[in-house]
């Protein structure tokens, strides 16, 4: 296990080292300053503004900003839905797949436009290359960019001194796309191809195996999508088993790159934040709070998976590490990833809103699966999604400032702006929408016959599958206990299990959309409310937000909200499973 801890330590070290580098670069990009890519991308950027008929300098207040964002997302949704429903007639369809049915297309469109990338379809068995590229890859790019836009607007609200302007949505969107997401995707994508991730337009090749059997090898333009799937905290795999599939994640190097890509931008944005507010310590203190929770999760999950499951112990199988074998719970895990890299990925993908997987979460131990669920339960503020993670964390910061202010008996202030009743009302709503959506939908799905039809496993694992499904969708994560609706395999047209189940499709789709856009509108409203306020100079009575004390207060608030909301539900699923050796 020492080997496992060493991997974690070096990985975290790399994340810390890259945070200021990328963070500084992004701060320059978002301020519209010149960067080394400007000579190449500048003309394309200006041409885009011309095509869109927008003035990048034109300031929008929170309502105009929100309107642009929502309308853009609505039309993205319609475009994706139409592509999925008509894919049978499009080019780049070597396997001759049919158009998707209405219910799963509804779910998929909602899923990708909300940056969730929950998948009730099987990639290689149902989607054409055109749908993967022009439909899904596009959303893989624009949704994290939208997340960044919301974050930027929020930050400008916090620091704004000259009236209600929060910046320009179209300029923020275009810059995030061209200067941040595109160059990183090209680099990561090409590295992935060089290691064996497929990138071709030809259809499946049929091999005759050594034993003389036929084996079809699914192909496709995968690397270009996988790069942005990881970088944009999207997570929707090109293939059904996501990054467990060797064509999506072939070796130890690609696993490292893909894992790093998950957390790279969300971590660096904390530095960008410090730069934008002019106080680097503020960024680092948020980073520190995130890192502390992240490390705590990792300390739980690796030993839990190394221990093995009750079923394996009951079968009398060895789970101890021996020379040349990792030991532990290898069910649903790949040899090249082993225990540590699988568990580290499971944690990273759920504290952020990525949701890609390199192992089967449904087969994790009880305690091991409590970690991803807790990551989801904290509303993904530990690095979190691209943009979404930090803006959600800033809501918790405002809440912590408010609680801290109450404790010392002063008017709460954050960076010189008074936090008053209106902001706290909006902040509380923004924080509570997601947990509320989880509990209501999971409750509906567990209490109705239509809902329980989706369950695969018996006993508490069946409850865990349901809870995980709605935790994941409401938090716009997208990882799954894949047994949920996945019990009739393979996911293929004409197969009842293939396209999920209408009830699950619709409830999930509605949840994903609501839990993405309602908080966004509330956050922009908070930004608008803060933007107009005067900045008062810090005095001796001002509570500082860049000290270890505040970091601990912030962690406490995050855990308090998450634990109070989800502890009873977690008790019924993963915790009961980790406390019993009973089999179901």
């Amino acid at each position: 296990m020492a080997q496992g801890w060493l991997q974690v330590a070096i990985f975290v070290g790399v994340v810390i080292a890259l945070t200021p580098l990328l963070g500084k670069y992004m701060a320059r990009v978002f301020a519209g300053e010149r960067v080394f890519l400007t000579p190449v991308l500048g003309p394309i950027e200006r041409f885009t503004y011309k095509v869109l008929r927008v003035q990048p300098e034109e300031e929008q207040d929170w309502k105009a900003y929100a309107k642009s964002l929502v309308l853009f997302s609505v039309f993205s949704w319609i475009a994706l839905y139409l592509i999925l429903r008509t894919q049978g007639i499009h080019p780049f369809n070597p396997e001759g797949f049919h158009s998707g049915p209405w219910d799963v297309s509804f779910n998929t469109a909602s899923s990708f436009v909300s940056n969730t990338n929950w998948q009730y379809y099987g990639g290689e068995t149902t989607l054409t290359y055109f749908s993967q590229m022009a439909g899904l890859t596009v959303e893989n790019f624009v949704t994290p960019a939208v997340g960044i836009c919301v974050l930027l607007a929020f930050i400008r609200g916090i620091i704004g001194r000259n009236g209600p302007g929060l910046g320009n949505f179209w300029a923020d969107l275009t810059r995030s796309l061209y200067y941040v997401l595109l160059p990183l995707s090209v680099i990561v994508g090409l590295v992935l191809v060089s290691q064996g991730v497929v990138q071709t337009l030809s259809g499946a090749s049929v091999a005759t195996t050594v034993q003389g059997a036929e084996q079809a090898l699914a192909m496709g333009p995968a690397a270009s999508q996988i790069a942005i799937k990881q970088l944009g905290t999207n997570g929707g795999g090109f293939f059904n088993v996501n990054s467990a599939m060797p064509f999506e994640n072939p070796n130890q190097l690609t696993n490292f790159i893909e894992l790093l890509s998950i957390v790279l931008i969300p971590a660096a944005l904390t530095y960008t934040y410090g730069k934008m507010v002019g106080r680097q310590r503020e960024g680092w203190s948020i980073f520190a709070a995130m890192l502390a929770v992240y490390l705590a999760f990792i300390l739980v999950i690796i030993p839990a998976e190394q221990h093995g499951t009750p079923a394996q112990h009951a079968a009398g199988t060895p789970t101890a590490a021996i020379d040349g074998s990792t030991g532990g719970n290898m069910e649903g895990k790949e040899q090249r990833n082993g225990i540590a890299e699988s568990a580290l990925w499971a944690t990273t993908t759920t504290v952020t809103s990525n949701g890609s997987v390199n192992s089967a979460h449904d087969s994790y131990t009880g305690l091991g699966s409590a970690v991803p669920m807790s990551g989801l339960g904290t509303s993904e503020v530990v690095f979190g999604g691209v943009g979404t993670g930090l803006y959600s964390m800033l809501l918790y910061v405002l809440l912590a400032v408010f609680i801290g202010g109450l404790m010392v008996g002063r008017t709460p202030e954050y960076l010189g702006k008074k936090i008053q009743a209106r902001e706290i009302k909006l902040v509380s709503l923004g924080i509570l929408v997601t947990p509320l959506a989880v509990l209501v939908t999971a409750g509906l799905a567990i209490a109705t016959r239509a809902g329980t039809r989706s369950i695969f496993q018996h006993g508490p694992q069946g409850f865990s599958e349901t809870l995980y499904a709605y935790l994941s969708q409401a938090n716009n994560n997208g990882s799954a206990f894949a047994g949920y609706t996945g019990f009739i395999q393979p996911n293929a047209p004409g197969n009842v299990g293939a396209y999920g189940i209408s009830f699950a499709d619709l409830l999930g789709g509605a949840t994903m959309t609501l839990a993405r856009f309602l908080p966004i509108v509330l956050i922009l409203a908070v930004a608008g409310s803060l933007a107009g306020k005067k900045v008062s100079p810090a005095g001796p009575g001002t509570m500082r937000t860049d000290t270890p004390t505040f970091v601990i207060l912030l962690i406490g608030v995050v855990i308090l909200v998450g634990a109070l909301t989800f502890f009873p539900a977690l008790l019924l699923g993963p915790i009961v499973q980790s406390l019993t050796t009973q089999l179901f």
Binding site: L6, Q7, L52, R53, S68, L71, V74, G122, M133, F141, L182, V186, L190, V193, S194, G196, V198, Q199, T200, S205, V206, A207, T209, V210, Q211, Q215, L217, A218, S224, N240, V241, A244, M245, N251, Q252, N255, F256, Q312, A315, T317, T319, S325, G332, K333, Q335, R336, N358, S359, A360, S363, G368, H458, P460, G483, G486, Q489, P490, Q577, Q582, L583
Partner: protein, 217 residues
């Protein structure tokens, strides 16, 4: 409102062209030229025939022949398969090593089915290897040999797993054990930077090397 609607529609079209067509097609073009073999699935051909991909595991089982000289069928009319003792065996697969429809086993930690599946796999493994490696105990069976992989097409097995199977291969193929172990180490991947991930032995490549070293008559 009207202006924002128009801009939104234009933005969807523009970004679809850039990120949905230009970007993936350009990446495909570059990849096809610079990394041709890798971009097309790291295929392996033997004597001009495609036998698989070095990244995708395949089954090394063969049909069991019944007393009547025909392949034995199970209740569903499918051929009963058994591991071919002349080859290294890959990890158990829930999908029958399907390379174009991957899925997880989704066996839960407290499930009776998981207990039964693992128990059977353990018995089968010991049954196959014990005659050739007398020192093998249940405690010595590497866990990757009896659990389903994530993808169902895991191309690799652990080093411990390969070294146990080496006894059988050496006996069946009439090769010195040290030669078989040498082939194993030739086909073992290493950790990235010596730190990340786990080493694994590529079963397909190893078996192909074995066929070259000691062809089956």
């Amino acid at each position: 409102m009207r202006r924002t609607v128009i801009t939104s529609i234009l933005a969807v079209i523009a970004f679809t062209l850039v990120f949905g067509l230009a970007y993936p097609l350009a990446m495909t073009g570059i990849s096809q030229v610079v990394f041709h073999g890798k971009a097309n699935g790291s295929k392996i051909t033997v004597n001009g025939k495609l036998v698989g991909s070095s990244l995708i595991g395949q089954s090394f089982s063969r049909p069991v022949i019944g007393r009547n000289g025909k392949p034995k069928l199970d209740e569903e009319g499918e051929e009963v398969l058994a591991p071919d003792p002349r080859y290294f065996q890959p990890r158990p697969s829930q999908s029958g090593y399907s390379g174009n429809a991957t899925f997880f086993s989704n066996s839960g930690p407290n499930s009776v089915e998981e207990r039964e599946a693992v128990r059977e796999a353990l018995a089968a493994y010991v049954g196959l290897e014990k005659p050739f490696d007398k020192s093998l105990t249940r405690e010595g069976v590497p866990v990757d040999a009896i659990t389903m992989s994530g993808s169902g097409v895991d191309p690799e097995i652990s080093e411990a797993n390969a070294l146990i199977q080496a006894h059988r291969i050496a006996a069946v193929r009439k090769l010195p054990l040290s030669r078989v172990e040498g082939l194993i180490s030739d086909h073992t991947s290493s950790r990235f930077l010596g730190v990340f991930g786990e080493p694994g032995v590529n079963v397909l490549q190893l078996n192909l090397a074995l066929d070259e070293e000691a062809p089956i008559k």
